[in-house]
């Protein structure tokens, strides 16, 4: 995945050793994508195995810089030129989760939707705060701002999609008075703390 391309992109700027790569990667993504140094070295080893980078002699400080190869450069160019496949995004896990919630007895799909929406909303609030904190960005700041805005749009899209899911669910469930979860006659699903007492019982059924 993109740690690989992230490192290639950084090496395209010039030779660097592991620690530098990690620091620069995190700075470019505004610290939202923390890397551990182990990840950096494993990725470098794979890139070297695939002939995309080449290890240089150790410097005086005992650090081993890497440089990008011609193949690496071609690979990087291809990555920049290709759209990201929707297939490997975590969003799909969410879609699967909702589909499963809909068909698993004892799971309130409305609550699953709301939980996800609250979480996406919280993310969106946090990102918005970060964005308003950097008002007039330049250089690295601007790069970070672009990453930030991309995340804002994604979080927003997720909330919208969840709104859409919910209105579909309401349309299907409300008029008929049928249970969404296909078990017993619950008319409408709302979060209600008074219902928590029976949670054990319901959960017990699904286990």
């Amino acid at each position: 995945m993109s740690v690989r391309y992230g490192l290639l992109a950084l090496l395209e700027r010039g030779a660097r050793y592991g620690y530098q790569l990690r620091t620069e990667f995190e700075r470019t993504t505004g610290g939202t994508w923390p890397l551990n140094i182990g990840q950096v070295y494993t990725t470098l080893a794979r890139l070297e195995r695939d002939g995309l980078v080449r290890a240089l002699p150790e410097n005086d400080g005992g650090q081993r810089p890497y440089e990008i190869t011609a193949d690496g450069r071609a690979e990087l160019a291809l990555w920049f030129a290709s759209p990201i496949e929707r297939g490997d995004r975590p969003r799909d896990e969410l879609a699967i989760k909702l589909a499963l919630a809909l068909t698993t007895p004892g799971v309130d799909v409305h609550t699953v939707v709301q939980t996800q929406r609250s979480s996406a909303m919280r993310t969106l609030q946090e990102l918005t705060r970060l964005k308003t904190a950097s008002d007039d960005p330049q250089g690295t700041e601007l790069a970070w701002r672009l990453v930030l805005e991309s995340m804002i749009f994604q979080a927003e899209a997720e909330v919208r999609w969840l709104d859409h899911c919910e209105s579909s669910l309401t349309r299907f469930s409300a008029p008929a008075g049928k249970s969404i979860v296909g078990h017993r006659g619950r008319r409408k699903s709302t979060v209600d703390s008074s219902e928590k007492d029976s949670t054990e019982h319901v959960w017990g059924q699904t286990r």
């Binding site: 609250s118 918005t128 209600d192 008074s194």
Partner: protein
């Protein structure tokens, strides 16, 4: 009611809804717009209210601003229970304490920007010279001091909306209520509007923002989700696995 320094008491409650219910009509045709909503907003806090149409968002805002009265429950604005006020007293709270920003701007076409902004103060009997100064200060705050003498139809939609914001902010208003304030504005202009609201709240006001746009709600400190007249969630801490499985066979709908 006491005049307080907002920086001295940041956690002061400015708006409080206690078990507020609003029913339109009676009997068979009764519509429950709000069902026992409890919500408090403190100085320096911006709360967004989200929910599908018909969930009670606008009703909540109208009740909070004293434009509508609850069927049961209490609305308290700066320690004053609105239900206990005379019609005149209520009107005074609305003019002095509460700033409204609506979807449709309600600017009077025959008044200039400054006159529109000064209107709430003038209605309140404030001297003309002072209202003019306050209006200019509010227009300055929204970056429109140079258009003070323009009429609404001589301004862009975004500028008109900023005038409406200035009118909501003019004077010493501690409660700012906004219903889809970004309306049909483009995203940049809409963002500017939210920035203004955020700034006033950060300076010590309390704000309630009704919106169906997640990106706008994201400017708030807290997001409240309304569904069928009830608060179903607040963007607070993560729920427990138990609450995820809170389906009760035959439980209350």
């Amino acid at each position: 009611m006491t005049a307080t320094d907002p920086t001295a008491r940041p956690a002061e409650t400015v708006l409080e809804l206690r078990e507020v219910t609003r029913v339109h009509g009676r009997g068979e045709v009764a519509v429950h717009a709000l069902r026992g909503v409890t919500l408090s907003v403190t100085a320096g806090e911006l709360v967004a209210v989200m929910g599908p149409s018909g969930s009670g968002k606008s009703t909540l805002l109208n009740l909070a601003g004293g434009l509508d009265a609850p069927t049961s429950g209490e609305v308290v604005v700066e320690h004053v229970t609105l239900g206990g006020l005379s019609r005149r007293g209520l009107a005074a709270v609305r003019r002095r304490r509460v700033g409204y920003v609506f979807q449709d701007l309600n600017l009077l076409p025959s008044l200039t920007a400054a006159e529109n902004v000064a209107l709430p103060l003038e209605l309140d009997g404030v001297r003309l010279r002072r209202t003019r100064a306050a209006a200019l200060a509010a227009l300055e705050e929204v970056g429109l001091a140079h258009l003070a003498n323009r009429f609404p139809d001589e301004m862009s939609g975004g500028q008109q909306q900023r005038v409406a914001i200035a009118r909501a902010l003019v004077g010493d208003r501690r409660l700012i209520l906004a219903d889809e304030p970004t309306g049909a504005l483009d995203s940049q202009t809409g963002e500017a509007v939210l920035k203004l609201m955020r700034a006033r709240v950060d300076a010590g006001a309390a704000g309630v923002l009704v919106t169906h746009e997640a990106r706008h709600a994201a400017w708030a400190d807290r997001v409240v989700f309304l569904r069928d007249g009830s608060i179903v969630d607040t963007s607070g801490p993560l729920p427990t696995p138990e609450s995820l499985l809170a389906t009760t066979p035959g439980g209350p709908a």
